[in-house]
Amino acid sequence: MPSSASLRKQIESAFEHRYPSVLTPSAKAVREVASTGISQIDDLLNGGLPVGAITELTGPASSGKTSIAIAALSRRIQEGGVCAWVDANDAFDPESAAANGISLNQLLWVRCSGTQTANQPDKFRTSNFRQTQPWPRLDQALRATDLILQSGGFASVVLDLADESIEHGRRIPLATWFRYRQAADRTRCSLIVLGKAPYAQSSAAVVLECEQAALDSANHNVIRRFIYKVHRHRERFTSITSIDRKPPASIWSAHAMWNTEKRA
């Protein structure tokens, strides 16, 4: 009676011309991760946000997703990388970024605006030089993200759709997210998407849902820190057993930007 090893060898050799190593499980590659600088979230994600993949931070306003994104960018910039923030609603606050240790000259900020009239970039006029075409804010953000991802060299890119309505976000074609995933994988860039809900679906490697847990104040007249809760909804590159063992949520806090004692 042939052993299981010889049987497997026979089957694999029979199928070799069509499916190489048909019964041998492929070796799992260790995914590179980048720390967010927030230990609780790093623990939740086995080290940090995946490099070369899409991470979605979802949640309502004041749920701490912007703080997580800025902390992650700050960490990447301190490692010597260059990052970009594609701001669909022009909500980015440079002072907050600087307060979190981001070197602003290593950050490319694209401020999309619905009121701005942009010129059509690729084709020129058919009749004269004065024709222009307005681009909607969301479309600008998607095109800008695409360009930045395709150009390569950015360690991390944030696509900020946090103020976009869920209906608009869900209208983004899946092909766009597939393209982003491919480009992020090719250029080893961490794409962080901020939104009220997850939009990238199967293209996202990690989906974190954020919510506000509590507010800590000093003497009941100054905010000392915000306490947030993060739920892990999807983690594509981690084995099932690992997910089961880990807690599904984590609590972290972000201190206020000011000197609490002085302000109190």
Binding site: I38, S67, A91, A97, L104, N105, A118, F129
Partner: protein
């Protein structure tokens, strides 16, 4: 005939005939295979001042009027522009400077002619015929056709180049034979002397050279000694090299107004190719390109392209130019176009295996230009905080990876603001001076916690003064959604504003 010793000098005369036509056609390769003439003068007195070979074959001659050219049919008529010609002459001269720093310009009607002192360059460029081939090839790359003559005598080279085509190499002591078939008009004599020589039946330099000097001088005086020297190929000349200025400039004037970007870029492409070729010949790159256009209605258009690093990549520079013009389109049709480049040293980049990948500078330039075309030129870049107490005071500067300052700052993990730009006006309800409830548009919020106020004011002497009262507010709407926001009371306008969210 005087006997001479072997001279030390070697000259290469380069003569580009029909230069006004060549100056235009070198930037219009699409017209080179068609008959073209260049008209000079003001209408209706315009006459043909230059033409190409195809037009000559069709029967066009110098001095024809526009009407006569039109009668021949299917001939492109171009207009002569002094600036285009001057730019082309500079390019022509610059190309020749690759072969010798000692160059003298010679007078030539309707042509551009230079004589190069190429003494001692044989070890660099090879024998005389090889040098001539190289000169012709270099001129061809920038769009010129020229006749070249190499000789040990300056004037012989100059005259032979003017009255022959292709390449001529005249050996030592064969000058007289080489000049024999050249017409006597090469000497630029006065009209009465031409008439006298015509009466004598003298029409070429060979026939003039055969005349005895003793008989000629009593009849024409001392100048005839110089004529004989020229025609026999032993005239002496003191070489006066010119000081050429290196300027990377290309200019073209259009016969018709250009309204299409594609048409403009087609011309730009050739101009950039020429600029890159000229810079490359000096081991330089283009650090910036200034675009000057004169527009219909005497308006002017000026833009400057600054690549992140000096580049010689033609496609990249053309793409930058396309995006720049698309982002800042001219407000009228284009009459003329000038590209002036500044040369820079080739970029040297020290790569690092262990550093994070950075954006490739030239690719980043194109990406930034595309982003500016999408979002607006003033909305793409790096934020810079200004030294002011005014909230949200910053400006955007050009994003560049050349001057990155790597700081050893630590991640501080502080909560961040999301600005509302422009701030929403709120309808606020107060309770004992504190925010109690507010409406953002139609959405009502009930304030659960309000910390403040924190006063902020400044620039009371200026128009843009501010006087604000800040409140940190936790509020809940009807659906139970809780927000933490920064609410501002603007004392100057008496308005409550939603300035930012804590997120």
């Amino acid at each position: 005939m005087k006997s001479r010793g072997q001279p030390d000098c070697l000259y290469a005369a380069v003569h580009a005939a029909e230069f006004p036509a060549q100056a235009i056609l070198r930037l219009r390769p699409d017209l080179r295979s068609h008959p073209c003439v260049v008209l000079a003068g003001s209408p209706p007195e315009e006459r043909v001042c230059a033409l190409n070979l195809h037009a000559r074959k069709r029967g066009v001659v110098h001095g024809m009027t526009r009407l006569e050219v039109d009668e021949l049919g299917n001939i492109h008529i171009l207009t002569c522009f002094a600036e285009t010609e001057a730019t082309a002459r500079n390019v022509f001269l610059e190309t020749l400077l690759q072969f010798s720093p000692r160059i003298e310009e010679t007078f030539a009607t309707n042509a551009s002619a230079f004589v190069l002192d190429i003494t001692g360059t044989e070890r660099l460029f090879g024998p005389p015929h090889e040098i001539a081939l190289r000169i012709r090839s270099a001129l061809s790359t920038v769009g010129f056709r020229a006749s070249i003559c190499i000789c040990t005598n300056y004037d012989t080279a100059r005259i032979k180049a003017e009255f022959s085509s292709g390449i001529s190499v005249i050996p030592y002591e064969k000058e007289s034979e080489a000049l024999a078939p050249v017409p006597i008009s090469a000497l630029h004599l006065e009209l009465e002397h031409y008439e006298t020589f015509a009466l004598w039946g003298i029409g070429t330099l060979g026939e003039l050279a055969a005349l005895p000097e003793e008989e000629l001088i009593p009849r024409f005086g001392q100048p005839s000694r110089a004529w004989l020297a020229l025609s026999r190929g032993y005239a002496e000349h003191t070489f006066q090299p010119m000081e050429a200025r290196f300027e990377l400039k290309e200019h073209i004037e259009f016969e018709t107004h250009i309204e299409q970007l594609d048409s403009l870029l087609f011309v730009c492409s050739n101009m950039i190719n020429n600029l890159v070729a000229r810079a490359s010949s000096r081991a330089l790159s283009l650090a910036s390109i200034r675009i000057d256009m004169s527009l219909e209605g005497s308006a002017q258009y000026k833009q400057v392209i600054h690549p992140a690093i000096p580049s010689n990549d033609r496609k990249f520079l053309l793409k930058l130019m396309q995006l720049e013009i698309a982002a800042h389109p001219p407000q009228a049709a284009v009459d003329s176009l000038t590209l002036t480049a500044e040369a820079g040293q080739h970029c040297k980049v020290q790569l690092d295996l262990f550093a994070l990948p950075m954006p490739e500078p030239s690719r980043l330039d194109v990406t930034l230009a595309r982003l500016k075309a999408i979002a607006g030129a003033d909305r793409v870049g790096s934020p810079v905080l200004l030294d002011s107490h005014r909230p949200g005071n910053f400006q955007i500067r050009e994003f560049s990876i050349n001057d990155q300052l790597f700081t050893d700052a630590k991640t501080l993990n502080r909560t961040c603001l999301r600005r509302v730009r422009p701030p929403h006006t709120l309808r606020m309800q107060l309770n004992t001076g504190k925010p109690a409830a507010f409406r953002d548009g139609s959405a009502p919020f009930c304030v659960s916690v309000a910390y403040g106020p924190w006063q902020s004011s400044g620039c009371w002497w200026a128009v843009d003064r501010w006087d604000l009262e800040e409140w940190d507010v936790m509020a809940t709407n009807d659906s139970g959604e809780s927000i933490a926001c920064l609410v501002v009371h603007d004392h100057l306008n008496g308005k409550w504003l939603l300035d930012a969210f804590y997120d």
